[in-house]
């Protein structure tokens, strides 16, 4: 039987790891779950304790989806506390605004510029917020816009948007290229590895590390 204290001792042997909290948000069906798995697994390979949590009960039905990834020497809560997500990766523009409580002044927000109209916008009852970036900047200055759909179009496969965005976040994380490639090859089907590697690398160009 493992108790929390024995787990702590085991984790203590690893070299010191700064905690990293990552929040990924978007819309059901955008591939957030795969992106979360790639990032969590790579962080495990890089020697972190990792917890990842999402609610996917109705994810496929077009609802809002969020996934919490927490890495560090020892992680307790699977949920990120407010004001502490080092990175927020938003797969859809306005979705970032739903989770503003989680970011802080020093957060980096990676924003896919894609817009998916919620039902009330589609039916003309509400307006799509025109000032997403300005609103995020009221709390966190570092906002980077990623034209993932355009890049995917250039690459000739609209389904790699999630891997482009994963790459954009990946470049910021203390994980080696070798680990990213190993993780990708384990989690994407072999016949799609080539296009996904390209997508991942194009995504990485958006991070400034």
């Amino acid at each position: 039987m493992k108790t929390a204290s024995t787990e702590k001792k085991a984790a203590g042997k690893a070299t010191s790891k700064e905690p990293i909290d990552i929040l990924i948000v978007g819309v059901g069906g955008q591939g957030i779950i795969l992106a979360s798995r790639i990032i969590s697994q790579a962080l495990v390979y890089a020697g972190y304790d990792v917890k990842q949590s999402e609610v996917h009960g109705m994810a496929q039905r077009g609802g809002a989806v969020s996934s919490h990834i927490r890495a560090g020497e020892k992680v307790y809560s699977p949920l990120i506390p407010y004001d502490s997500a080092r990175y927020m990766l938003s797969f859809e523009s306005l979705e970032a605004l739903r989770y503003m409580s989680y970011i802080y002044a020093g957060s980096t927000v990676l924003l896919n510029d894609q817009k998916i109209d919620p039902p009330s916008v589609a039916s003309g009852q509400q307006q799509y917020p025109p000032d997403v970036i300005e609103r995020i900047k009221k709390k966190a200055k570092d906002v980077r816009v990623i034209p993932a759909a355009d890049v995917a179009f250039e690459l000739g496969n609209e389904r790699v948007v999630n891997v482009i965005l994963t790459g954009a976040l990946a470049g910021n994380l203390p994980v080696s290229r070798k680990i990213w490639m190993k993780t990708l090859s384990e989690l994407v089907p072999a016949k799609l590895m080539e296009i996904n590697t390209k997508a991942f690398e194009r995504g990485m160009q958006f991070s400034n590390r």
């Binding site: 039987m1 108790t3 059901g28 495990v44 039905r61 307790y76 809560s77 407010y82 503003m100 916008v121």
Partner: protein, 577 residues
């Protein structure tokens, strides 16, 4: 070897490592993936049962048959299985039987947030509450040991955040066990009153022994810290509390029924304050308070919703001041919706103009309650639609506003048969619509007794809905295609006007599960008169461009329902395609 596993995957792995040979379940979020995962292990015979009561009964049989058995369900599933559960406690088991019960605080995907820890007390069954994926695996293995050691079913209670969170898990090999041969023992297994009276004594004695075991086992642990505050916690709440009180003394409870009362007493001694951090009800708090120990718990934490580090910090340390940018007023919501091409949209579009009272049920179709479709008047529990519409019509409800009961095919298998039997037997006059999309869509597309496939993917018999309804005594049984909107409307309109019980089976496969897709449609802007009728069916592919309706072609499934709703014939397959 170490792997990143969800709590659900870890439970399945733990059961497999413990030598489990049989598993039975009915799907239900957040428990569904446990059974899907365990079905992937060749050594385990895993089945979908038609409902949770049957799943548990099959499980009891398998355990008496001599193999370690896992039974899984969501919290409300245990309401359905409560009958066998409470008496199974008396009979005990032969080979180990573990019941996984997955609660859903915050109701991410449920109709209520009942706290099933009370079931463990009600049935006097030991209960373990893991707080990580690693513990989920370890506790399931321990649960099997305890089950056989104490001759009892053991409940492992998880919550959505355990089931659907990933954490690092150390994998171990499988334990191989020989099948135990069943030894008939009527005094133990035949619960007539004279035997049950004896067995209840055994149960009370057993709980005492398990309590003693819990005092010594490392499953419950005092984790010394600093200061004069002591925190008692279990399950995922422990992880939140650990984050908020990094230095405090902890009593981490793994076996929460029966509570290790001596340990609690020892822990409380000399501490200025004892905090109980638990999700939902004051389950541990009230028991500890009843021991005469001053505790604080629900005076600081809500009894509703799930906890997280912020809620715990707000309650016990300091209320967080939100940043002015945190809340964006008027941000459009993004509720889950029926998919493009969903046959439920066809059916509800067909019956909406009939202005019926719709006694609904639980499944994807319940999503049609959202405006602008707004076609549900009730949703209580699986199968309730039929009984409710019968009751409503029996007291004359139909004379003011006609009604209909609507439920899905999986829900019909789960608990619709007895309802139909009831309306035929008691001379009902109501109409029931079965939304037969050939799967259990809401929970991700599981097979059921009407899909001709088992959980393991083998071919099997398929229940014939028409024949069953007729056999139950309903003479008026009809099948419709929900994508033929007008024809469907006519059949339902006719049936609700006839004073006889009837069943309308609306058959079309779920496009999400069966990957059904036709060429996308388009709006002819010249013909569109901007009436907005098509937008009222709430299809994700339909939006407005300027004042005209517009179809987003990559979202459109080509089902054609909008085209049949349009009064101006403005929607069709675009000429160029």
């Amino acid at each position: 070897m170490k792997q990143l596993l969800t709590g659900n995957e870890a439970i399945a792995r733990g059961a497999w490592e413990a030598g489990v040979c049989f598993a039975s379940a009915y799907p239900g979020t957040p428990s569904t993936e446990i059974t899907e995962a365990i079905a992937g292990y060749g050594e385990v015979n895993a089945e979908w049962a038609p409902n949770e009561k049957v799943a548990l009964e099959v499980g009891i049989g398998a355990a008496l048959g001599g193999v370690r058995t896992l039974v899984c369900m969501k919290h409300v599933g245990l309401n359905v299985a409560a009958d066998p559960f409470c008496t199974l406690s008396y009979t005990g088991i032969s080979a180990g039987l573990v019941l996984i019960c997955a609660d859903d605080p915050a109701m991410h995907s449920s109709q209520n947030e009942q706290d099933n820890r009370y079931y463990a007390r009600l049935a006097k069954v030991p209960m373990l509450e893991p707080s990580t994926s690693q513990e989920a695996k370890d506790f399931v293995k321990l649960a099997f040991e305890m089950s056989e050691k104490f001759d009892t079913p053991v409940m492992v209670r998880v919550t959505t955040r355990i089931s659907h969170s990933r954490g690092i898990v150390e994998l171990k090999p499988r334990k191989s066990l020989a099948r135990k041969v069943f030894k008939p023992d009527p005094k133990k297994y035949v619960m007539v009153p004279s035997n049950a009276r004896m067995r209840h004594r055994v149960v009370v004695e057993r709980q005492k022994n398990i309590a003693e075991y819990g005092e010594k086992s490392p499953i419950n642990a005092i984790e010394p810290g600093k200061g004069d505050i002591g925190v008692v916690s279990a399950g995922v709440a422990y992880q939140y509390a650990r984050e908020v009180f990094p230095q405090a003394h902890f009593l981490k409870i793994g076996l929460s029924n029966p509570l290790p009362k001596e340990m609690v007493r020892k822990f409380a001694k000399g501490k200025k304050k004892i905090y109980v951090v638990e999700e939902l009800e004051p389950f541990m708090e009230e028991q500890i308070a009843a021991m005469g120990i001053a505790v604080e718990g629900k005076s600081r934490l809500p009894e509703i919703d799930e906890l997280n580090p912020d809620v715990v910090r707000d309650g016990f340390v300091k209320k967080r001041k939100p940043h002015k940018a945190d809340v964006v007023e008027g941000l459009p919501n993004r509720p889950p919706n029926l998919c493009p091409g969903c046959p439920h949209r066809g059916l509800f579009s067909a019956i909406k103009p009939l202005k019926l009272v719709i006694f609904g049920d639980i499944g994807c179709y319940t999503l049609s309650v959202l405006p602008p479709l707004s076609t549900h008047d009730s949703c209580v529990c699986m199968g309730a639609s039929i009984g409710m519409s019968h009751g409503y019509s029996k007291v004359g409800g139909n004379t003011t506003q006609k009604s209909v009961g609507v439920l899905g095919d999986s829900t019909f298998m789960h608990s619709g048969l007895t309802g139909v039997m009831e309306m035929a037997y008691n001379k009902g006059s109501n109409t029931v619509i079965i939304l037969d999309n050939r799967t259990t869509a809401m929970t991700g597309g599981q097979n059921h007794p009407g899909t001709a496939r088992t959980l393991k993917g083998e071919d099997t018999v398929s229940l014939n809905l028409e024949e069953v309804c007729r056999a139950l005594g309903v003479k008026r049984v009809f099948r419709v295609n929900p994508f033929e909107v007008k024809a469907t409307r006519e059949v339902v309109k006719r049936e609700v006007s006839i004073e006889e019980p009837s069943v309308v089976i609306s058959t079309a496969p779920c496009p999400l599960i069966f990957k059904v897709k036709s060429a996308p449609l388009a709006v002819d802007a010249d013909k569109c008169k901007e009436c907005g009728a098509c937008l009222k069916i709430n299809c994700p592919a339909l939006t407005k461009r300027g004042e005209k309706a517009f179809i987003v072609d990559y979202l459109c499934n080509g089902c054609g329902v909008c085209g049949q709703i349009c009064p101006f014939d403005a929607i069709g397959v675009p000429a160029s395609k």
